[in-house]
């Protein structure tokens, strides 16, 4: 389990209140991955959303373009919250990394049950998405635009 204090450090959870953080901390798990590990495979069912705690990640889009993430608090695996819940990019660890993993189904349930929480988290997710939108395929863009 990840403590509330740890979660509070990340920008994505900055606006969350104590109850929401408690719920998030209960479902969060620490995950360690080695350099070169494929954390997320494109096209596979999106079951987990990750937040980078330590290390470096490379997000690879279908056409081979990529971005790298190094700052703690960066989010990968947002597809776990967006239908049709299939990852739209691959993520590989550039270094040994520590991540916080959230099971997509539980997070989604929380979003659906709690509108205020849902709005906050989806706003954060859409910020991430807007940065990555240029790399996504037309079909995925369409789905996301419909959702937003």
């Amino acid at each position: 389990m990840i403590t509330i204090e740890e979660l509070k450090r990340y920008e994505i959870f900055a606006e969350m209140d104590l109850t929401e953080l408690k719920l998030l901390s209960a479902m969060a798990e620490e995950r360690k991955a080695r350099e070169g590990d494929e954390l997320i495979r494109i096209g596979s069912p999106a079951r987990t959303l990750y937040i980078l705690q330590e290390g470096g990640l490379m997000v690879v889009f279908p056409d081979g373009r990529a971005i790298t993430l190094h700052k703690p608090g960066r989010v990968v695996g947002w597809s776990a919250l967006v239908s049709p819940t299939h990852y739209t990019a691959s993520v590989t660890c550039l270094t040994d990394s520590i991540l916080i993993a959230f099971p997509g189904s539980e997070l989604l349930r929380l979003v659906q049950r709690n509108v205020a929480f849902g709005t906050k988290i989806m706003r954060k997710i859409s910020e991430v998405l807007s940065r990555r939108l240029p790399f996504l395929q037309e079909k995925d863009k369409r789905i996301l635009k419909q959702r937003s």
């Binding site: 070169g36 190094h70 240029p134």
Partner: protein, 160 residues
Amino acid sequence: MDGFSAISAGNGWLISALGISVVFFGLASLAFIISFFPRAISWWNDHAQTPRYVFPLLRSLLVKRRRKVPALLGSGESHEPGEIDDAEEDLRLLTAHMGEPFKLPRLIEMAEQRGLTRVHSTINRLIVRGTMVGGDDGLFRWTKGTDKKSPVEKKFEEIE
């Protein structure tokens, strides 16, 4: 008709023996050919460059690999500054032929095929220290000014 006479009359023994042999031969030869894929593809990658560069590059890679791979990046967590510089040189050689800007996953794949170790963390260090940068277009470039003369040019000078 039934029984063994039916099998003989329908050429059953022959068809079965030939059939299973064809299946075995087909899949065994497929397995045999597949086992050469890594070497064949690595050979192709080495020869698919601009002809002008082929021999000098091959020679340089061979010399380099023998000299450097064991020392390139050890198994420890951190890299010695000199080791990163050596790895950078290798990577610059590869990107010189890929063209700039380049796709980072492709660079990693090519570097691994050439036997470079710990390519991911090397690239991570190069990005973190600003030697290599990712653009908004998802493609990567070397930072201008970090090296006035490209390592490929230097390499050719050394060889010549």
